[in-house]
């Protein structure tokens, strides 16, 4: 809708950009952004405006404000991964996905906050502080929450965004941008999408280039897309997917961008309900919602079957080992010599490296590096690393078997419950939390399958809850078509943000409720 508005001149790219920038300023307490690239954004908006004036927009994304998670390299803009290790690091290049968006005329507003190096499931462990879920400030949440102490700072029961792409999810959810890039290694795009009530897509591994995405686990990382509706995700996917010679893990098949049909007949669809996703700790609210969704499909004529993915309970353990191992390797590049933080200790190369790394990394990162090194020791390699790789194959095969049996798409919950209050979340350490929260999303990364979170309804506490669809490899079109149908059925409510100074601009009101496609 906004794209059409830009085309017809109802609003100009610079106006749009300025409104988003001022909204970012007035929602600073959410802490979604680490860096706001005001000057460059306005320049990009002006260039876009010029193109619209000449009647030559680059495409649907021309002039659309977007945000990018701070673990993607952005030329000339600081890229920190929310870590002291990369504070002050100005990327010399654009990640491929960033370049593709800029080539389409998108306006890059800034870099969003995350857990340090994308390790975490709350967006609470970065050096720039935690991200607050915009829904904490919504009328819907406030109506359902009884403040504990009346004299207490009313800020104390704000909830987390989920992670690790919490900043991106919060930015999209609070209307400061129309789409955002996240990354997904264990659920890092879908988890915050569910908690913030936005659409979060994890594409098939190999579809979108990882060149420029600072790697966490090379065999599982993918760039993720966060938007307010499924159609928008399809548009962004269309501009990002495809082979990249700079990323050898992208497939060579040609990719054709698609528009999503408005599905009306689901009778040919087979929806699988994996019983192992009824995981320990799943809230009864979400269980009920999941069941209602299955009924919805059945009543509409689809074939809904229970299936089994027996190795699901082991995906977290498997991830724990493989992730730590790959992290130990990927973090080795941070030695302070070529970029990033460098310690003043200079008695010897090794001591400089050691001091730089002890100063630059937080406990979570260091912990994973050490565990990873442990699992990779000669005496442990077979026992842990190779073993985990074998378990990985079993997990991937579970999915192959299920899809081969005729199931088109799997329907599962995305998270165990709605967003937790920050004060509750931090009572447990990062690893425990990740192990709990990633259990429903991680297996899709193991198998490299596409998965999407669709915001479904509000919980009893007034917070968003989403459901997840997992599809076959490279069948994003089918996955998104089903997701779009479901989105239409559930009619997820718009967030009613209270503490934001609203612009009583008619156009802005239109944009608020929707999409740019």
């Amino acid at each position: 809708q906004v794209s059409a508005a830009l085309k017809e001149g109802h609003v100009s790219p610079t106006e749009l950009c300025q409104q988003c920038l001022s909204l970012i300023k007035s929602t600073k307490f959410i802490n979604a952004y680490i860096t706001v690239a005001e000057e460059t954004a306005l320049k990009q908006a002006e260039a876009s405006e010029e193109r619209y004036r000449r009647g030559q927009p680059l495409g649907v994304l021309d002039g659309i404000p977007i945000a990018v998670k701070d673990n993607f390299n952005t030329a000339g803009i600081e890229t920190t991964c929310a870590s002291n290790m990369l504070r002050g690091y100005i990327s010399p290049y654009n990640a491929t996905v960033v370049q593709k968006l800029l080539d389409q005329g998108a306006v890059l507003l800034g870099k969003t906050n995350l857990d340090e190096f994308a390790m975490g499931s709350g967006s609470t462990d970065g050096v720039f502080g935690p991200v607050r879920n915009p829904w904490s400030y919504s009328r819907q949440y406030k109506e359902k929450t009884v403040p504990k102490f009346h004299s207490e700072d009313k800020d104390s029961n704000w909830v987390i965004t989920g992670g690790s792409s919490g900043g991106s999810a919060a930015a999209v959810s609070s209307f400061t941008c129309f789409a955002a890039l996240g990354s997904d290694t264990g659920g890092s795009t879908r988890n915050p999408a569910a908690h913030c009530g936005v659409v979060g897509l994890k594409p098939t591994y190999g579809l979108i280039s990882r060149h420029g995405l600072i790697p966490l686990v090379n065999s599982m990382d993918v760039p993720g897309i966060l938007t307010r509706c499924v159609d928008d995700t399809a548009v962004v996917l269309g501009s990002l997917a495809g082979h990249d010679p700079k990323d050898s893990t992208t497939i060579q098949d040609s990719f054709k961008p698609f528009e999503l049909p408005n599905l009306t007949d689901v009778s040919k669809l087979s929806i699988g309900i994996p019983k192992e996703y009824h995981a320990p700790g799943l809230s009864s609210e979400i269980l009920h919602l999941w069941s209602k969704a299955a009924d919805l499909f059945e009543k509409a004529g689809a074939k809904v079957v229970e299936v089994s993915l027996p190795h699901t309970p082991y995906s977290i353990v498997c991830y724990h080992v493989l992730c730590a191992a790959e992290v130990a390797s990927n973090m080795a590049r941070f030695d302070g010599l070529e970029y990033g933080h460098c310690s003043d200790m200079n008695k010897s190369t090794e001591s400089m490296y050691a001091a730089t790394r002890r100063e630059g990394f937080n406990d979570v990162v260091r912990g994973r590096i050490l565990s990873g090194n442990y699992f990779l020791l000669k005496q442990n390699y077979e026992k842990y690393f190779t073993k985990a790789q074998k378990v990985r194959r079993l997990i991937a095969n579970d999915f192959v078997k299920v899809f081969r049996s005729g199931v088109d798409v799997l329907l599962t919950p995305t998270t165990l419950s709605d967003a937790a209050p920050y004060v509750e979340f931090i009572k447990e350490d990062n690893r425990t939390r990740s192990a709990q929260d990633d259990v429903l999303t991680q297996a899709a990364n193991m198998a490299g399958l596409p998965a999407i979170n669709v915001p479904t309804t509000l919980s009893e506490r007034g917070l968003p809850v989403g459901l997840q669809f997992i599809g076959r490899s490279f069948q994003e079109q089918q996955l998104l078509t089903v997701a779009k149908w479901f989105e239409k059925q559930v009619q997820f409510p718009v967030i009613q943000l209270e503490e934001v100074k609203r612009h009583d601009d008619g156009v802005f009101q239109d944009q608020k409720s929707a999409s740019f496609s």
Partner: protein, 108 residues
Amino acid sequence: QKVSVEVLDHLEHLALVDFRDSEGVERLQKAIQFADQLHEVNTDGVEPMDSVLEDRCLYLRADDVTEGNCTKELLENAKEKVEEYFVAPPGNIPLPKLEERETFLQGS
């Protein structure tokens, strides 16, 4: 079984990252305990999986130089440099042993 001090020392040398305190060591112990659950799974006859794209051929491009000459940009982010070199402190001085290390790094 608890991890021995030799292994802890070895890990710190390999990782060039320190445990910092007993909490760090505890974290490792818990991580190992957690990972031990893997042994409940029967993986007889299963091949390890390196990549989900294992059935595909890797893309190889022609061996032609297509980019480069960006020395200036690459050097920009480094703290210590001389002409076109990254400068490191003197090498080949191994980190002191665990016993000596407590005091050593405190000087940083």
